[in-house]
């Protein structure tokens, strides 16, 4: 693939703007992932542990929310952080904060759904043992998250992938402003719209390489997942 070669030359060529864009993407994606995982994992674990009416409905809702297009998530968050919205005074729109907020909102249901799904297969005896030893709800939550850490790593990686690769929210809330909120994906979208398919594809490869790197690093962090 010639675009693979171009991807290499893009990086080695050391174009300052390309590097800046990559760094921005990484920064945004990492923060978004953090803010998606912090509420998402406990929600997934709580759905798993919880014994309440409407649990099925809650699970279905979390699953369904994943189907909401990024543009809609973008619009939804927009309606809050627009200058005429309730959080307008924070100045998040067309700024990094808005992108991070929007992407976290986007990835959070994915994290919750994947955590919940993964924990499903956790032996029910874990929950019972915690209960019988007298662990309260918070302890149980923490212990279940610990038992399911492999699952949760996977969910986190999926969230990273989702936010690193999405365009709608970054475009709509970041505005694709050069030297400010332009990320790799918005650059790709822009290139694609300008007919610069080769460049767009090669940036895609760079993004793929980045995601691979993050995956490998996470493997080092959580060695014995199984």
């Amino acid at each position: 693939m010639e675009s693979l070669l171009e991807a290499v030359s893009l990086l080695v060529g050391g174009d300052r703007e390309t590097w800046w864009t990559i760094a921005t993407s990484v920064r945004f994606s990492l923060w978004s992932t953090v803010f998606a995982v912090i509420p998402g994992v406990p929600l997934g674990a709580a759905l798993f542990l919880g014994r309440f009416k409407g649990k099925r409905a809650a699970v279905a809702l979390v699953n369904a929310v994943m189907a909401v297009p990024t543009v809609v998530v973008g619009l939804f968050v927009y309606s809050f952080i627009s200058r005429s919205g309730p959080l307008g005074s924070l100045g998040l729109l067309y700024a990094p904060g808005g992108v991070v907020l929007g992407q976290a909102a986007l990835a959070f249901p994915l994290v919750a759904a994947m955590s919940y799904t993964g924990l499903q297969k956790l032996d029910p005896r874990y929950g019972e043992t915690l209960l019988t030893l007298g662990a309260g709800p918070w302890r149980r939550l923490a212990a279940i998250i610990r038992e399911g850490r492999y699952v949760i790593t996977q969910a986190t990686l999926a969230a990273f992938g989702r936010v690193a690769g999405e365009v709608g929210v970054s475009m709509m809330l970041g505005g694709n402003i050069r030297w400010y909120t332009r990320t790799m994906t918005t650059t790709i979208a822009l290139d694609a719209s300008k007919g610069e398919f080769e460049r767009a594809l090669s940036l895609g490869f760079v993004l793929l390489a980045l995601a691979l790197l993050v995956n490998f690093l996470s493997h080092l962090a959580v060695r014995d997942g199984r």
Partner: protein, 222 residues
């Protein structure tokens, strides 16, 4: 109502789906008593023990613990522990597993350490303390699980076939431990297929058949 009664079961009937898995017209376990549940496979022993630990529900009839209904009874979690027939241990080392249970029971650091060492000693798992708990053999796992429950210091122990995977040494350790607890006034309810264990340790036997607790000399179950 008996002030001495730890468990008071009346008109109990529980179904997993359609079939009744455990039922019991009436059963009273007194403070300091040792009761064995015996009966064929699938007769409801495990189900009954889990019910008595509040792990299963909802059910028809009533179970009370220390004179109050079992549901949301805070005494239950403070004072009793159930050990699975095939127990699971948490991620981390064996020591972590014991320490975690002790932390849940709010023992101070010094006492926790002492209890941990004592339990490890008694169950012959001292050499396993720093092993990864998820990677133990069947019998090792069962020993650690029983040790974890005993270390946690509950005075009402519900043990589900506690020696089934154990070697003779482990079996002897559990027997002597249960005998010791019995002397010190703890309340024991355990299931077993091993008749010598029942003969040695039970004050009273409750027989199960086809999901029904059917007879217990000295007990009230009809």
């Amino acid at each position: 109502m008996d002030a001495e009664a730890v468990f008071e079961v009346a008109g109990l009937s529980f179904r997993y789906e359609r079939r009744v898995a455990a039922s019991c017209a009436s059963l009273r376990v007194r403070n300091g008593e040792s009761v064995a549940f015996v009966g064929p496979n699938g007769s409801g022993k495990t189900t009954m023990l889990k019910l008595m630990n509040g792990l299963l529900g909802p059910f028809d009839g009533s179970i009370s613990f220390m004179g109050r209904p079992i549901a949301k009874n805070p005494e239950l979690r403070r004072r009793s522990v159930y050990v699975h027939q095939h127990p699971v241990l948490f991620a981390g080392t064996v020591r972590d597993n014991l320490a975690y249970a002790l932390r849940l029971k709010r023992f101070g650091a010094a006492e926790a350490e002492a209890r941990l060492e004592d339990a490890a000693e008694r169950f012959g798992i001292a050499c396993l303390l720093d092993r990864e708990a998820g990677r133990l053999s069947g019998g090792e796992t069962q020993r650690v699980a029983v040790a974890r429950a005993v270390a946690a210091g509950a005075d009402v122990l519900l043990l589900d076939e506690p020696t089934s995977s154990m070697d003779s040494e482990g079996d002897a350790a559990v027997r002597s431990m249960l005998a010791g607890l019995r002397r010190s006034g703890s309340t024991l309810v355990f299931s077993a297929h091993d008749e010598s264990l029942v003969r040695e340790l039970a004050d009273r036997v409750v027989r199960f058949d086809m999901g029904r607790a059917i007879a217990g000399p000295g007990g009230e179950t009809e």
